[in-house]
């Protein structure tokens, strides 16, 4: 969760790797003994999680890219990252 004044910076856990799956035409997140299939938005979010951008930066980048306003992008990004964090695939630093 992001709190004002203390930005949380999401990054992919080193055990996980983003990979394009040519055969099925999608991106996947690979990790020990498992994988998560990603939709295009999910893959885009993860590509923005570079260990430098905060959650707010990721949201802002996506809003700018799609000309979106309002809270829906923030809700989607937060929920998506929380799901991966619960699997230990995304970690938060600051």
């Amino acid at each position: 969760m992001s709190t004002p004044g203390r930005p949380t910076v999401p990054s992919l856990h080193p055990k996980a790797r983003l990979q394009h799956d040519d055969v099925r035409g999608r991106d996947v997140l690979l990790y020990p003994e498992g994988l998560v299939a990603l939709n295009p938005t999910g893959a885009e979010i993860l590509q923005l999680c570079d260990g430098i951008r905060s959650v707010a930066d990721v949201v802002a980048a996506l809003q700018q890219r799609y000309g979106a306003t309002g809270r829906s992008v923030e809700r989607d990004v937060t929920a998506f990252l929380a799901g991966l964090a619960a699997k230990g695939l995304v970690t938060y630093g600051s």
């Binding site: 055990k15 990979q19 055969v23 996947v28 990790y31 020990p32 003994e33 994988l35 230990g88």
Partner: protein
């Protein structure tokens, strides 16, 4: 839509310095069927064909895969293709230098077995003094930044150590510990009476696992592979026959799982004779039990068939005598009494049963070769 494989288990060699009595390798691993190992170039071609077919996860296993001097080259090729590579090793004599080379070659994940929580039991079960090497290798693995899985096969002789094993994995900073109750194939089936746990042991261990899962949360993933003889319904073996998984054995035969080669009523094809996509899509071994058209009753009309796929074909063959039957573990199977009898035997057994260690001389004695070259041949 036809299924595409996601997983490939590459059994690079059946040579192994350890002699674990539950080994999943075939009883006849020392025989001519597995002798002429694939070359580096042949394995690289298999990896390329697997990637083109849809495989994303590659397990490099054996036997002991680090006995292959070209392991680094194989990892480099697999990594270059974008495969997520896991090394599944005993870590016997595995050095930090070798692991560092593998890391540079692109290896993603290391799984190191351990046979008990202390040197005495671990070395006894392995039949080879290897505990010290394993502990050293766990530390190297973490120092090099690999995600680490601690692999344990559980049975009558080590189930009481589940708590110590979890604590060991925790202290090593492992990502995962895989507590796999023995599945009875290969050497484990041969040694079933010696390995079969009691219900009481399993209940105690399962209580520990639940408690430790609650304590550790996502710090350490505890995988518990069910002891299927003690279950009411069969496991969804391999997520269904030929749906997501394939094993390539050291000399190039391709199997729908690492135990399937024992099914004598199937024909297995070889990567030396056919491309992998042909084997996946067309070969007898892969098409025979794909989908549910093959299913007999009680599976055919059972609502669980989409969850468990009729269970395990190997178990049906090995225990009930026909790979096309319902897994005899299922309480609805007319052969369930065979499973119950094996479970009951251990409950009433007076003393410990000796096991046979997995080793080449025992392999040659237990599985005489039937191709006319084996028994008569020297060595």
């Amino acid at each position: 839509m036809d299924p595409k494989p996601l997983w490939l288990l590459a059994e690079l060699t059946y040579k192994c310095p350890l002699q674990c009595p539950y080994c999943s390798n075939p009883l006849d691993f020392a025989g001519p069927r597995f002798r002429r190992e694939l070359s580096t170039e042949e394995w690289c071609r298999v990896f390329r064909e697997a990637k083109a077919l849809g495989v994303l996860q590659l397990g490099l296993s054996g036997g002991e895969p680090t006995l292959r001097a070209d392991l680094e080259d194989l990892v480099r090729e697999a990594h270059g293709l974008g495969l997520y590579t896991s090394l599944i090793t005993s870590a016997y004599r595995l050095t930090q230098e070798r692991l560092a080379v593998l890391k540079r070659a692109g290896l993603d994940h290391v799984q190191i077995s351990i046979q008990g929580a202390d040197a005495e039991l671990s070395d006894e079960v392995a039949g080879t003094a290897s505990y010290k090497d394993k502990i050293a290798a766990y530390h190297y693995t973490r120092e090099l930044g690999f995600p680490l899985t601690v692999n344990v096969v559980l049975h009558r002789r080590n189930l009481h150590q589940v708590e110590s094993l979890i604590r060991l994995a925790e202290s090593l900073g492992a990502e995962r510990i895989e507590l796999a109750n023995t599945q009875f194939y290969g050497w484990a089936l041969h040694n079933r009476d010696a390995l079969m746990p009691t219900k009481h042991q399993l209940d105690d261990a399962w209580r520990v696992v639940q408690r430790e899962r609650a304590r550790l949360g996502s710090t350490l993933e505890i995988v518990w592979v069910l002891p299927d003889y003690h279950e009411q319904y069969p496991k969804p073996c391999m997520g269904g026959w030929a749906r997501a998984y394939m094993t390539v054995t050291p000399a190039g035969e391709v199997w729908p799982c690492h135990a399937a080669g024992r099914i004598t009523t199937l024909t297995f094809d070889n990567v030396r004779d056919h491309p992998l996509d042909w084997i996946w899509e067309r070969s007898d071994a892969f098409t025979r039990f794909r989908g549910d058209a093959w299913m007999p009753e009680p599976c055919r009309s059972c609502p669980r068939k989409t969850q468990d796929f009729g269970g395990c074909r190997c178990q049906a063959f090995l225990v009930a005598g026909d790979a096309g039957l319902t897994d005899p573990v299922c309480s609805l199977s007319p052969h369930r009494h065979l499973i119950d009898a094996a479970v009951a035997a251990v409950e009433s057994a007076a003393g410990a049963v000796e096991w046979t260690y997995r080793a080449a001389p025992a392999s040659r004695a237990l599985a005489p070769f039937r191709d006319g070259t084996g028994l008569a041949a020297k060595g």
